[in-house]
């Protein structure tokens, strides 16, 4: 349970890192952002976002702080650390390789 449907294993981490790489975001905003940018193709079960967030924090790749939202509520904002940025670059490169490889395989037309 909890795994986002249709997501390749381990890619949720990458999505989170990428999503907060531009600016700090709270959990709800991260979910919204992923769905919005992917034009609703990627459906993240909202609750399943939190365990990875906590794990990434333990690994030192993201850090959290409490601050106010535009609506004036206190929320926990996550942002990328320097180590997290390096990790993201690494995972992006991995992803590129993997997706290219998969694309090549699936798009090869058999003569």
């Amino acid at each position: 349970m909890g795994k986002p449907s249709g997501l390749v294993q381990g890619t949720l981490d990458l999505l989170i890192l990428k999503t907060i790489s531009l600016e700090p975001k709270h959990g709800w905003a991260i979910v919204q952002r992923i769905q919005q940018v992917s034009a609703e193709v990627l459906q993240v079960q909202q609750g399943s976002l939190y365990p990875p967030l906590h794990r990434l924090e333990q690994q030192g790749w993201i850090k959290a702080h409490w601050s106010e939202t535009e609506g004036g509520r206190k929320a926990k904002f996550y942002s990328l650390t320097r180590a997290g940025r390096t990790q993201m670059e690494k995972e992006l490169a991995n992803w590129d390789r993997l997706s290219t490889a998969i694309n090549t395989v699936v798009q090869t037309n058999e003569a």
Binding site: W28, Q45, Q46, A75
Partner: protein, 913 residues
């Protein structure tokens, strides 16, 4: 600083759990709120919006649990939970854990104490700069080279080869000056008994002659003052000495002004220039010199060493310096050996008219010196390892008991286990919890054991080092020893906890949940009971090994005690005096010893007094070449004999019977004709069919008597062929002497009178090694006695533990079979039959144990062959004795539950179910 942040996070999630949980709550609440607002904005009703938001978020409890797992502290959290639970269980029934902890602490403590000694002697590196670069330089040859006329240090003859530790001074100079493989080459030589006087107060101390580069070579800095340098190591230099921390403490009370103080060493004035660090003990573990004196001072503090030579510094035939070095970076041992060997050969062959025969040509050997010299290692490693094995076996036996007890308890907790399993607890989780409990037990045992080890350490040390001065070893517990204790505890905890934990959690749920706790055991499968019995059988086997070892040691000691030493050991006081340490030489030395002898004769209660170079059963001896005119030498026979230089009345005082001729008397003075007395063994060997008295030995020495054989240096050895020489006729090779006073009553009663008698001759002459001959012999057997006592103690302990184990398992079996027994009796079984039924099981267990134990005992006692006197390791009496004791005690332990079974009242037993 990333790791620091991480650490803080972990710390927070572990110990500020409530904050973290609270924060997660707030975070999820915010999320819901946000989603609700969004839903409201999309036009849902308030209720709908809330439900929809909860749906999209998912189960809050699950998310929380997953987040906890993600924080990666779950492992530690459950561990702490288990530990808390374990403590609670212990508090509830403290007897079993108490017994377990106590017996484990004894075992672990003893093991740790022994390991501490092993560590100090065998494992620890020298506390100097980069000890791994140090090498020890020795030499070896097939036969003893004739060019080495005298050798001070250690020699070893084994595997058809001699190896020896020391070099001549000229050779050391050559090795030091010409090699390019060692960055430092330094030398030293032990000075055992120095008469050191501080502020007019004389005492014996130990010392070491060291070359000027000794301290710089080892990389040791002075704690106060300075260490020795090459300028100090010249014959013309002012005599200076570096003192050890212990000596500084003992004689100066750590007074900083000790540096610069004048002291006298063997009558020569010296100036203290520095103190070595507290940890530094020289290069031989267990032998810590008090004073370090430049090698160049040898002539002044130990002039006797030169014997007939004008000086040791030019002598090529006297080898007395041990040599160590520090390898240049990148140089291999083999390279160093080859390079040093070239210099060595050139040095020893220079000036010789012909080369020594090839089998006598010594070759350099280089070995790692990071742990210092190995004298102590060879002497103590075997006894320590034997002790460790013995104690290890006892710990194993104790472990088996704890395992059996835990298994019984696991059976009693079967219902609890079944409930937990039924409720969905993972088996692994339960095993982990049970293991945590047993490791907890073991850890508590280990902690208590550590306390026992540190307090029992000095006791063990004095036991192992025997009657001589206790070994100077640094036995303060360090990280390694704590680590050893910890690993020991962990291992034992897992060892005795694993089987019960695995067994205890393999529960067939349906019957376990159905029955009531009381008669649960009746439904156990047989294999479960079989394991307990197998464990007890292994206890019996280990016990047999220990008991056999113990009876061997005891029988060996009995045989040693029954040895006839060849002299009367009772009412004899021994002490040593070294006149050369106070500046007496040759004729004056002889006069001094004669004066003392005469004074002692006058003490009331003294029958007679004599003196000798070697005290009997004192461990030391000399041998010398002899010429026996008319004796046909067998091929390759070394014409040598053991020698003792003795004073007048020696045989009469010691009670050694004179068989033919006369003993040594007062008329055998320096100027009288040279005479010797020989013992039976010498007479038999060299004068098989002749009458030796009146014959000559060498050119001008006459044999005047034959005495009965008496043991020389060790009780265990046969009396060797021995020549007794009047010491007055050989004053040049005499140094310290041992006095023997035969008393009418208790010999220790005259010690005060002896001291004042000696002081009356010379106030500055210290007496040392004062003891009775009986003590002297006891001390020579201290290791044997130690082994006999400890192995008996541990054997008894093992027997007790095994009996308890057997008793426990059989009692448990009887309880479980109560209803069966009841039925049997109701059907007409006799008491005796029931008794036999249970006893038979005991016998079976014991027999299996003996079946494993007997071969194991025969095999393992071979390890102690060289520690036994007059016995074979497979001594039938020892093995059958041990077996008998074991059978009697274990059958007795099994009889008690059997008798209880035979008295079962069928009515009660049947109602039981």
């Amino acid at each position: 600083m990333r790791w620091l942040d991480k650490l803080l996070l972990r710390w927070r999630s572990l110990f500020r759990r409530h904050d973290v949980e609270h924060e997660l709550d707030a975070e999820l609440r915010f999320h819901l709120q946000q989603q609700i607002e969004e839903n409201l904005a999309a036009g849902m009703s308030a209720e709908e919006a809330r439900y929809a938001a909860r749906r999209t978020l998912g189960g809050v409890a699950q998310i929380q649990e997953q987040c906890r797992d993600a924080r990666a502290v779950a492992v530690i959290e459950t561990l702490m939970q288990d530990v808390r639970y374990g403590f609670r269980m212990m508090r509830r029934s403290p007897t079993l854990p108490g017994v377990a902890v106590l017996s484990l602490s004894l075992g672990i403590g003893a093991n740790t104490a022994i390991f501490t000694l092993i560590d100090a002697v065998l494992i620890k590196m020298l506390p100097v700069k980069s000890p791994e670069q140090l090498v020890v330089i020795t030499w070896g040859a097939k036969d003893w080279p004739k060019i080495v006329e005298s050798h001070r240090g250690s020699t070893d003859r084994g595997n058809g080869r001699v190896t020896a530790s020391s070099f001549s001074y000229p050779t050391f100079r050559q090795l030091r000056a010409r090699n390019s493989v060692l960055s430092d080459t330094f030398a030293f030589a032990g000075l055992e008994q120095l008469n050191v006087s501080v502020a007019g107060h004389a005492e014996m101390a130990s010392g070491q002659l060291v070359s000027g580069n000794y301290f710089s070579g080892l990389g040791v800095q002075a704690l106060a003052g300075r260490t020795l340098v090459d300028e100090d190591d010249k014959e013309s230099a002012q005599p200076v000495a570096v003192i050890s921390f212990r000596f500084w403490n003992r004689r100066f009370g750590l007074d900083p002004s000790a540096v610069g103080k004048a002291i006298t060493v063997n009558g020569v004035p010296f100036v203290v220039i520095g103190v070595t660090p507290r940890k530094f003990f020289g290069v031989t573990p267990g032998n810590a010199p008090d004073l370090f004196i430049p090698v160049a001072m040898q002539l002044r503090v130990a002039p006797g060493w030169a014997e007939h030579r004008p000086s040791l510094f030019q002598a090529n035939d006297s080898w007395w310096l041990r040599v160590m070095g520090r390898l240049q970076p990148g140089v291999k041992l083999q390279q160093a050996r080859a390079a040093l060997d070239v210099i060595f050969r050139q040095s020893i062959t220079a000036g010789l008219s012909s080369l020594p025969p090839p089998q006598e040509m010594p070759a350099i050997e280089v070995s790692l010196g990071s742990k210092g010299l190995s004298d102590l290692r060879s002497e103590f490693s075997q006894p320590l390892f034997i002790l460790m094995i013995v104690v290890g076996l006892v710990v194993l036996i104790a472990c088996v008991n704890v395992a059996n007890l835990l298994m019984a308890r696991a059976a009693a907790r079967q219902k609890e286990t079944a409930v937990r399993l039924a409720l969905g607890a993972g088996r692994l989780r339960l095993v982990r919890q049970l293991l945590t409990e047993s490791v907890l037990l073991a850890m508590m045992g280990g902690a208590l054991g550590m306390v026992l080890a540190t307090s029992g350490e000095s006791l063990l040390l004095s036991l192992v080092s025997g009657g001589e001065t206790p070994l100077a070893l640094d036995l303060r517990p360090d990280v390694r020893i704590l680590g050893f204790c910890l690993v020991c505890s962990l291992l034992t905890g897992i060892l005795f906890g694993l089987a019960p934990a695995l067994r205890g959690t393999r529960v067939d749920l349906t019957p376990a949940l159905k029955v009531t706790a009381g008669i649960l055991g009746a439904h156990d499968d047989r294999s479960k009971r079989g394991l307990g019995k197998l464990l007890v059988a292994s206890q019996v086997a280990m016990c047999l090994v220990l008991l056999t070892g113990a009876s061997l040691f005891v029988r060996s000691l009995q045989k040693l005690n029954a040895i006839d030493a060849g002299f009367n050991r009772y009412n004899l006081l021994l002490f040593s005096i070294d006149g050369t340490a106070s500046g007496y030489r040759s004729i004056r030395l002889g006069t001094l010893y004669q004066d003392i002898q005469a004074r002692l004769q006058g003490i009331p209660g003294v029958r007679s007094v004599s003196l000798s170079q070697h005290r009997l059963i004192g461990g030391s001896a000399s041998t010398a070449g002899v010429e026996v005119p008319g004796y046909k030498r067998r091929p390759n026979e070394q014409m040598s004999s053991w020698m003792n230089w003795v004073g007048s009345g020696f045989f009469e005082t010691m009670g050694i019977p004179i068989l033919i001729g006369r003993g040594i008397s007062a008329r055998d003075s320096e100027t009288a004709p040279k005479v010797v007395v020989i013992n039976e063994a010498f007479a038999r060997h060299y004068f098989a069919n002749e009458v030796p008295v009146g014959k000559r030995l060498g050119d001008n020495t006459q044999i005047v008597g034959i005495v009965k054989n008496a043991k020389f240096n060790r009780l265990q050895h046969e009396a060797p062929p021995t020549v007794y020489v009047p010491y007055l006729q050989n004053l040049e090779s005499i140094e310290g002497m041992n006095f023997e006073a035969r008393t009418v009553g208790n010999p220790t009663a005259i010690v005060r009178d002896v001291r004042s008698a000696v002081a009356a001759v010379d106030r500055n002459l210290p007496l040392f090694d004062v003891k009775t001959q009986v003590q002297q012999i006891d001390e020579s057997l201290v290791q044997e006695r130690l082994f006999a006592r400890l192995s008996t103690l541990f054997g008894m302990l093992a027997l007790l533990l095994a009996s308890i184990g057997l008793y426990g398992v059989m009692s448990y079996a009887v309880v479980r079979r109560t209803s069966e027994i009841g039925i049997r009796m109701a059907l007409g079984a006799e008491c005796g039959e029931v008794l036999w039924l249970v006893l038979r099981e005991t016998m079976l267990v014991v027999t299996i144990g003996l079946g494993i134990g007997l071969p194991a005992a025969v095999a393992s006692t071979r390890l102690i062959r060289n520690r036994l006197f007059g016995l074979e390791p497979a001594d039938p009496l020892a093995i059958s004795g041990a077996t008998l004791v074991l059978i009697v005690v274990t059958v007795l332990a099994g009889y008690l539950p059997a008798r209880r079974a035979s008295r079962v009242d069928p009515m009660i037993a049947l109602r039981y179910e």
